[in-house]
Symmetry: C2
Subunit: 286 residues, 2 copies
Amino acid sequence: MPSAPSTNGFADRLHRAIRAVGSPACIGIDPVIEKVPEIERSSDPLDSLMGFSLGVISAAASVVPVVKFQSACYERFGQEGVGILASCIKKAKASGLLVILDAKRGDIGISNEHYAAAIAGMGADAVTVSGYLGLGVVEPFLRAGLGVFVLVRTSNPDGDEIQSQRLADGRTVAEMVADRVAEFGASRRGQSGYSDVGAVVGATKAAEGRELRIRMPSQPFLVPGFGAQGGTLADVQSLSDERGGGVLVTASRSVIYAFTSTNGSWVDEVRHAASAFAQEVRPLAG
Amino acid sequence: MPSAPSTNGFADRLHRAIRAVGSPACIGIDPVIEKVPEIERSSDPLDSLMGFSLGVISAAASVVPVVKFQSACYERFGQEGVGILASCIKKAKASGLLVILDAKRGDIGISNEHYAAAIAGMGADAVTVSGYLGLGVVEPFLRAGLGVFVLVRTSNPDGDEIQSQRLADGRTVAEMVADRVAEFGASRRGQSGYSDVGAVVGATKAAEGRELRIRMPSQPFLVPGFGAQGGTLADVQSLSDERGGGVLVTASRSVIYAFTSTNGSWVDEVRHAASAFAQEVRPLAG
């Protein structure tokens, strides 16, 4: 009998972090230079990117358990942007935050090993992954010690196109992917009962979300679409598990741009918005 | 009537490049440090990565029309790796090669715009994209002037898991994605008749490939899996269009590691292998 795969510890760390803060709130850090507050603006956009990111990290620390960096916003600036991303991840970790890199990666063979090494090397705790190539793509990420959130049901309108297609066996494509995620993640559960293999399930798809939760009882759900995209607390509640938890709710624009100050107190305003958001989703801490 | 989207010129450039060389061969550059020839090895793996990549580019120039860089192999080395990738893309372009970045990207909204800007900014001509979020993900890449190859049917064994699932309407998931690619790409055709929106279709799936070609008559197919992964010339021929073309066949390991020299003549050996490969797939130039 081959030795069963087991947890790399991510699911339990996530569970403990949510418990410690008492809220499953995740701040999405996806900075757009044009929206950076006056005082952080510089003739060098890289300085603006760094200054704004560090401010948001400072606002998020101790207020939420997790931050999620959107890789594209940093990759946009080439190698220097990638350097800033790595620095920001380190800073977030040093501030006691868990870090998800929203990179939607996924490749085959050695290429995938490289992605896993790169992302673990930057210090992230987890990564978003696309499963179109098969669920085997998550293995190198797990081996590198990362948690994985597989794209199952996304919050964008175009997501229906492929994800809502009905299979001959009655399932939608998203439900079929959900079943594979559950199957693949079943043996990777920690003491918390949660799996290191989670799923991305948008808050805007509540009815479908309930069905997906039945199919993925042990998966942490990374839930975008709350707030700015129209998802409500009730929508997210329909995604929670029998313990009333198992979700990590992300908000980005509604928090990171919640300032009017042109001076350094923008960070306090963002902290206030982060705190209000954390409070709002507190009932979903499990 | 809204103005119809039109070509950004990629399809025609690809067509001309294949015609000029007389072969639809594409060398996949996905360097693994451990396999770099003796003379390019350095105590600094970044130097090895750069030296080897430049040697392969030199071997490919004028012998094949296109090279494909595997982004993961460079991202593996963090910001310095990304810098080397950008330098290598510039060098390949300066050597007259078309460049595909195999990055399997795809996100929504502004994030996707960032990826498109980053990849176009590095000077690539085209990119591989995952369509699970909906075909709308390709738009920002097209607007940035890039050709796009959407993952439809991949050559890895796990690819069956999702791509071979049968829909209620009789199509497989891969065929459904193919139909969306054809629909989305129909209005983006150049004077060559080919579309800027292409597809990744593995050489190891010949029978399915014929069906996919019927569904995607105007799509350039980026075809991995030839050689090392077991795909034959006949397999690829089954993917070609009614003009006997429309394919871009990639080979990587079987070419880039085809050397025994420990000195600088490894480049000549790789050039020889690239030339033999280009010759082999010449019947597929269309």
